[in-house]
């Protein structure tokens, strides 16, 4: 049975975990990224559900241990982090706030809904020009592609729609 106390507790857990960030893109929290799917408390055990961005993303292990250590240092002794595959993660889950933070960080956020036709142009995060050129389908990590701005000439990472 969920009591009002549990609800407050869950809210506190979300608050706590808002300090856990993507180790590769430290401006994004796991909530911004849409990786944190659920937090629940069952029989005194905190159960956190996360979903992987990419199947082989090495950041997932780091995120898992960061969640565990954050909760442990807040006094939660029994914590389990479960990975859920379905529904498959999509960049559509990235928060509006997260997209702004990405842009400020110099990474162009996903322009469209997942794998949809180009509704919006990819913009250079430096000068907002849409005159951009694909350099490589893969950038510094699996979730990004490499572009170059034709106006300001800056190369930049683009967070791919998936």
């Amino acid at each position: 049975m969920v009591t009002a106390g549990d609800k407050t507790e869950t809210a506190r857990l979300y608050e706590l975990l808002s300090s856990v960030v993507d180790p590769e893109i430290p401006v994004l929290t796991l909530q911004d990224l849409g990786v944190l799917r659920d937090i629940s408390i069952e029989n005194g055990e905190v159960k956190v559900t996360i979903t992987p961005t990419y199947a082989g993303c090495p950041a997932m292990e780091v995120m898992r241990s960061d969640i565990e250590s954050t909760l442990a240092s807040a006094g939660y002794e029994r914590v389990s982090v479960k990975q859920s595959l379905s529904p498959a993660w999509t960049t559509d889950w990235m928060s509006a706030d997260g997209r702004e933070k990405l842009r400020d960080y110099g990474i162009a956020p996903p322009a469209n809904t997942a794998c949809g036709k180009s509704a919006k142009q990819i913009e250079c995060p430096q000068c907002q020009s849409t005159e951009v050129k694909l350099v490589s389908e893969f950038g510094s990590t699996a979730c990004k592609a490499l572009y170059q701005c034709q106006d300001c000439r800056e190369p930049f990472d683009y967070f791919k729609c998936i």
């Binding site: 992987p52 990419y54 199947a55 082989g56 993303c57 090495p58 595959l85 379905s86 529904p87 498959a88 993660w89 999509t90 997942a114 794998c115 350099v135 490589s136 389908e137 893969f138 950038g139 510094s140 990590t141 699996a142 490499l146 791919k160 998936i162």
Partner: protein
Amino acid sequence: MSDQTKALQDYCIALGDDSLTLGHRLSEWCSNGPFLEEDLALTNVSLDFIGRARMFYGYAAELDDEGRSEDDFAYLRDCREYRNFLINELPNGDFAFTMARQLMVDTYDMGFFEGLAKSSDPTLAAIAAKAIKESRYHLRRSQDWIIRLGDGTAESHERTQNAFNELWAYSAEFFETSVAEQQLVDAGIAVDRTALKDDWMTGMQTILKQATLDIPTHDWAIGGGRDGQHTEHLGFLLAELQFLQRAYPGQQW
């Protein structure tokens, strides 16, 4: 363990083996790519395949009644127990060979994972739904490269044509179903791979035509990977892949 559970576990192991062997081959390009961006791309694709292997082995471990883990499947089985398609274990060759293989595998993967996403087994369907998003990117890149290489210089054209001539016979394995697998197909769990051939051929013809390359016409075929009969190359691959666990059993990060 029931016959069907055993067949399902074998199926997961074979799919894990496909992903792990190809993922390992791609990882060998790390620091050897033709230029930096391509080096990054090859290793990113490699990671996707290794991640896929973990998901399949992880599920095989859940089904296991001997308590084996995903690591046991990856590191403690020898050649004859590996069930991957032979094409995945072949050495990388030159860049044209690597990308020709990639186009063949990515084209196959698109059809296969679309089918597997409809599996009556929810875990397989979830893995497939995840994998297909990645394969879509892989395929786009391998198509671009084959068109660029085939329709490029005389040298790149010749190397790419040679690669397809050498690799073509290995595609037969994609479309051969074993008896145990057929039971899973009948149960709505596995994909009927024989039905994927026409779409695969159409996909290959479209790209090779744009790349001004010829579809190889010889009709000889090589098989045996799904039965554990491999080329001489797999042993060397596993020797490197498994060295640490063989030398230091149970070692962990």
